[in-house]
Symmetry: C2
Subunit: 67 residues, 2 copies
């Protein structure tokens, strides 16, 4: 299975906090807002922008904006 773990970092900081594991689907829901859905059907909303995606490492990092 090719799901990814989604992390959130504060803008400009290195620390990344796990938001949801085993994410299958990521859909935008308005400016800077995203709906994550895991392979288990769990959903979470996240606000921010994408900092990096490394799919082979199963790793997607969002960051909150400084606004």
């Amino acid at each position: 299975m090719c799901e990814a773990n989604v992390y959130l970092a504060q803008d400009g900081r290195d620390e990344e906090v796990l938001v949801l594991e085993a994410v299958d689907q990521i859909l935008p829901e308005g400016p800077g807002s995203w709906r994550l859905t895991s392979i288990f059907g769990e959903q979470k909303m996240i606000n921010g922008q994408i900092r990096s995606m490394n799919l082979v490492d199963h790793r997607i990092v969002f960051e909150t904006s400084a606004d």
Copy 2:
């Protein structure tokens, strides 16, 4: 390997054109600009915003803005 195929659609249209296969890394490079890197090291730049990501299906779709 958990790479994905990246597609680009024109804003508001359903047709999705393959941009790059077997993408490992996606990094933002300025507003609406992204650097894709495949597992083979091939790189492409893409302009647009994310429409949808379905990782289990290895499918990431960007769309160009209507601006």
